[in-house]
Symmetry: C2
């Protein structure tokens, strides 16, 4: 994988963001370009593993799938949803393993990773923190001029996370940007 | 990383095993060769990250560190400790992320990964399931003709996991071998 963290050819006023909605068997990804005013989708999709496949196959697909997306689109920053809201330790362990399989190869390239709470993401996309998945999908479609009706929520959520990061990055010169994970 | 799953040059009666004691900031690894009767240590060590380094740096080091070990020593099988005994969801999430960062690149090479409970590992090394870390360290040292006195428990535990897998693999022609994860 190439080191994509710094690309002097790209304009300083526009950034390429990878948004990731990470889960063990269905991880959505979305690549957008934004200058804070405009949002353009470059690609989006799903890294999925069949229900019966073992854990190692899920983690292998996440590891190589995210690696391919980063290699192909050279994002400068990544946004992911924070995951510390699970009560069940076994579920938390499995989601954690999916996050580790994804963050490891991204961190290897030096691309910074920013974490946002589900509430923060909904606020950034829909204007309020209690929006449901359908509302996120519709607003993401409007902002990106994209027909999201047939798209998986995992993919529209990933695009929403990328939009949330773009908002945070450009608003007040990034004053509210969290520390990278 | 090369695909090390099958190496026709290596004798069928001897296997090379990578044992991993996975944690976010201190992951021990141990490489042993065994035919079920003899156990020979090839290398062992620690992949560590300073306490103040961010999560992404821990996962980056685990991801690349395990990749280097696998590239250099071409193990045919991996043994790890099972991790589903944490009650705290946040701790479980963090340990899960360490496991994901390690399992992803190993799974990519096709090397199978076998999981063992702490009790099973202690039984295999010490003969009883309630052994403490000092006892594991001493027995691992005896079995591998290795001075383990100054070694970190994370490293001797990793060697113990490799020994446990060798035992299981060769005993009763692998009748008690668990499914790979």
């Amino acid at each position: 994988m190439k080191n994509n963290a710094i690309n002097p050819e790209r304009s300083r006023s526009q950034v390429r963001i990878l948004g990731l909605d990470v889960a063990l068997r269905k991880t959505g990804y979305g690549i957008i370009d934004s200058n804070g005013q405009t949002f353009k989708v470059i690609d989006c999709g799903l890294i999925s593993t069949p229900q019966k496949a073992p854990l190692s196959e899920c983690l292998r697909r996440l590891h190589s799938g995210v690696g391919e997306v980063v290699d192909e689109y050279a994002p400068q920053m990544t946004g992911i949803e924070s995951g510390f809201f699970y009560k069940n330790a076994k579920t938390a362990m499995l989601l954690g393993s999916a996050r580790g399989a994804v963050i490891g190869p991204i961190a290897e390239t030096g691309i910074p990773i920013y974490e946002y709470s589900p509430r923060r993401i909904k606020q950034a996309v829909c204007g309020y923190g209690n929006a449901d998945k359908k509302q996120i999908s519709r607003l993401v479609g409007q902002m990106l001029s994209l027909n999201t009706e047939e798209m998986s929520d995992d993919v529209t959520d990933a695009l929403g996370i990328a939009i949330c990061h773009a908002h945070t990055y450009f608003t007040n010169q990034g004053a509210f940007l969290p520390e990278p994970v």
